[in-house]
Amino acid sequence: MRLSLDKVELEIARLWEEEARRSRATRVELMTLVALVSESHLLDRARDVVQRVARAYPLRTVLASWTDSDRPAITAEVALHRPSPEGAACGDAISVEATGSAREWLPENAERLALPDLPMCVWWVGDLPDYDRLFDRMARAADLVVVNSEEMDLRDLEKLSTVSARVRHTCAFSDLAWIRLRTMQELVARFFDDAAGRECVRSLERVTIEFSPRGGEKDVASTQAGLLFGWMANALSMRAEGVQWKRGPTWGEATLGKVVARFVHHPRTDVPPGSILRVSIECDGARFDIERQDDPRVLRWSRETPGAPVSPQTIGVDIAEEAGLLVRCLERPRRDFLFENSLHLGSRIVRPIAPRLSSLPRPL
């Protein structure tokens, strides 16, 4: 049953009252997640993701989509999230549909539907258009805005970097591709935890990042690979100025001062598009490797540092789905300076080889 927006809270209260009679569920909600579905074919996927998120993290979800029409209106449907059809309720599920020019009213109405006094997170589902006023207005209302650059082209890193700089005083900004990189970052950092590893940092010469490209991708690096190298370059205080690129059909090589970074395509169907398959680091006589095995959930971590042996390790890793990444993102709804800096530097490093944007997003 579609409701007018002023009836939504009443209906939710009624559903919880009904729930109190059938189960011992306590109503705990820690934030509102607004999923803005930018393309209609993504609606089912987004619905599935918010349902999974609500099972892991108690929240109110507002799934917002829009269709063309001459009659501007926003209406809603309301239900409760449940871990299973018989399970006790674990959050409010609101779907809103804007028709025609009512899309413009979504920001204020999303805020109206948000839980009072609790953080609001906006997840932009799908590719980010070069410029969209709705995105910026939502960012003003939100505490955290999440995108997924796994679905974007390499050139979009620059767009994201501009957006992140633009919204940084209004909300935190995050990227699911960045969240996915955490495991790799953790494993890279491990190489340099002890004195023998740290010794090598200064003499770092070569980094190779192998990744599985998206279907039909022509870019030399995936957004994840670009972000990963941006993070490394940021940690090592490298600069993007004067970067020199060479490229072949399935590889690209950037020279930044005395460091060479090589990006290599290696298509695999058993990992999400853009995923990192191998990271190798070479320093004066030492070598550090992380390599995804035939089983994509297993990484081999090995280090050869003269005089400081460490046995190689096989490490089981999750290949998180979008919902899992989003939950991790929501656990820390605050500005992530490391991401902002890595994105900024990474996007500048890859700029020479990423097809330019027709126009960069306009300022707020």
């Binding site: 674990c90 340099f192 042996p309 460490v310």
Partner: protein, 516 residues
């Protein structure tokens, strides 16, 4: 510990321990199987163990490394919070596991152990760093420490560390606790000693600190002006569960009151530390114990109650009494229940009674701290709830309850108006449950504590002066009980809330135990 790795800056895990060899003394024992190895496995699964770290089991039993690894796999399968075993994690974890058999009293065993550890240093880059986890009976603590020192295995030289983790009991009374500390300090510095009290590793206990010092609204009320009294309960519904022999030596006071219960009290009553660092926190905690009024002589009878469970029921099924349990004497006078009325002599809490109780075979399993606030100064409005206040003369005071287990959470009880034309109030509760708010299962206490020991952070471990201060409170009580006649030990039926004297203890002050 890592501080200057540029790749760690800003990552979620900013602290990773330096690689070491983790040696478990008593590796064939119960604690190793049920807690230590499952906790280490879970740390490995969370990728919190440093690469190169090895785990070496050491015990009397002759067994091959292969058999040891297999038995640890069974233990992980049975006791780990993550099920089933993740083969990729296990594959790496098992390659870290080693075993050496030996006798704690025999110096030659230490030579063998040392050779093994040095071999692992060479192959794995652990550079002489050691954690010795003593999962062993207290009777051999001293032997093991002396032999480790004699073999030169605890010296911290050339930047390497050697830490010794010990399990309770830390003595049986003040004299033996002081003797144990003296023995330990002969061969180790205090900073090398990590005394485990697993209650401090519990998320909910750490949350007391978060509640008090991470919020501005509670601390202004956290004093004698607003608090009427505090209750701390650690109730178990099970009996001694086959641990009769151990319990005959310990009793509830040594098993739980002297350590866990007093730790809860310290965290509840301590002043805000200047910083959340090991010594600052522990300085404040120990001040709480020092401020507790000693209970001696005749006061013991007045302010403490002990009891022992007799036959009764557990969840509606008949169960035997303590004296009928295996390995328990038929005439045992060991207490399975303790209640005490404590008071602190300090500026913040002077005159605020703290009622504590702990026991086995009580009506329900529940560990909880409840802070009972003073009543409104003037009964302007009337109470409509059933119970003693139903005559309209009294409003039930507000209570903040912090549940440690099970169903971890915080409840605030306050008065609200009953809907209707008249101004009648009723107590209602506002509930926060960890499970619903954060979902999933957090790390177990042993995981947190082992990680902290690896990182060399002793904040959540008991310091020598904490242990002796706790014994200073408990020892005169235990001595007085020993002098009392056997017939004075009250027996309570299993499945009830302890002997009637426990109710009298609080009711004579015009108060009552909170219903749990």
């Amino acid at each position: 510990m890592t501080t200057d790795n540029p790749f760690r800056v800003g990552l979620e895990t900013e602290r990773i321990p330096d690689a070491c060899v983790f040696v478990i003394f008593g590796a064939s024992g119960d604690l190793t199987r049920r807690k230590l190895v499952p906790a280490l496995y879970n740390l490995a699964a969370s990728r919190l163990l440093p690469p190169g770290m090895s785990i070496v089991g050491f015990a009397l039993t002759e067994t091959t490394e292969e058999q040891f690894r297999q038995s640890m796999r069974d233990a992980v399968g049975q006791f780990s919070r993550r099920k089933p075993i993740d083969e990729a994690v296990w594959g790496d974890f098992v390659s870290r596991l080693h075993y050496v058999s030996g006798r704690f009293e025999e110096p030659a065993s230490y030579t063998r152990l040392r050779e093994k550890l040095e071999f692992l240093d060479k192959t794995n880059g652990t550079r002489g760093n050691r954690i010795y986890y003593l999962a062993i009976p207290p009777s051999v603590f001293r032997t093991v420490n002396d032999n480790l020192a004699a073999a030169g295995m605890v010296a911290e030289e050339g930047g390497r560390y050697a830490r010794v983790v010990i399990e309770k009991p830390f003595g049986r009374d003040l004299a033996s606790a002081e003797a144990l500390n003296t023995d330990l300090h002969k061969v180790l510095q205090e900073k090398q000693i990590f005394r485990i009290d697993h209650y401090l590793g519990k998320e909910t206990v750490q949350n007391i600190v978060a509640l008090r010092f991470g919020n501005a609204i509670f601390e202004p009320l956290w004093n004698r002006n607003h608090i009427d009294h505090v209750q701390i309960t650690a109730a178990e519904d099970i009996g001694v569960e086959g641990r009769g022999k151990f319990y005959e030596e310990a009793g509830a006071s040594r098993d739980i009151v002297q350590n866990h219960l007093l730790q809860l009290l310290m965290v509840t009553a301590m002043e805000p530390p200047v910083a959340f660092t090991a010594d600052e926190v522990r300085d404040e905690k120990v001040k709480v114990l020092r401020a507790l009024k000693p209970i001696r002589g005749d006061d013991v009878k007045r302010l403490t109650v002990r009891g022992q469970y007799g036959p009764g029921n557990f969840a509606g099924q008949p169960v035997p009494g303590y004296r009928q349990e295996p390995n328990v004497s038929e005439r045992s006078t060991v207490e399975t229940f303790v209640a005490m009325r404590l008071e602190m002599d300090n500026w913040r809490f002077a005159g605020v009674p703290i009622y504590v109780r702990a026991g086995k075979r009580l009506a329900k399993r529940c560990t909880e701290i409840s802070v009972h606030f003073k009543n409104v100064p003037h009964a302007l409005l009337t109470q409509g709830a059933p119970g003693p206040g139903a005559d309209g003369s009294r409003i039930e005071p507000d209570v903040l309850a912090i549940r440690i287990q099970p169903d971890e959470g915080i409840t605030l009880r306050f008065a609200a108006k009953v809907p209707g034309p008249s101004m009648v109030l009723r107590p209602v509760t506002m509930d926060f449950r960890y499970g619903s708010a954060f979902g999933g299962s957090g790390p177990e206490a042993y995981e947190r504590l082992i990680l902290d020991a690896l990182l060399g952070d002793p904040t959540l471990f008991a310091r020598a002066d904490e242990v002796t201060a706790a014994w200073r409170l408990m020892t005169p009580i235990l001595q007085e009980w020993e002098r009392e006649h056997l017939a004075d030990l009250p027996i309570y039926p299993a499945g009830t809330w302890g002997p009637p004297a426990a109710f009298e203890l609080i009711e004579r002050d015009g108060r009552a135990w909170r219903r749990l």
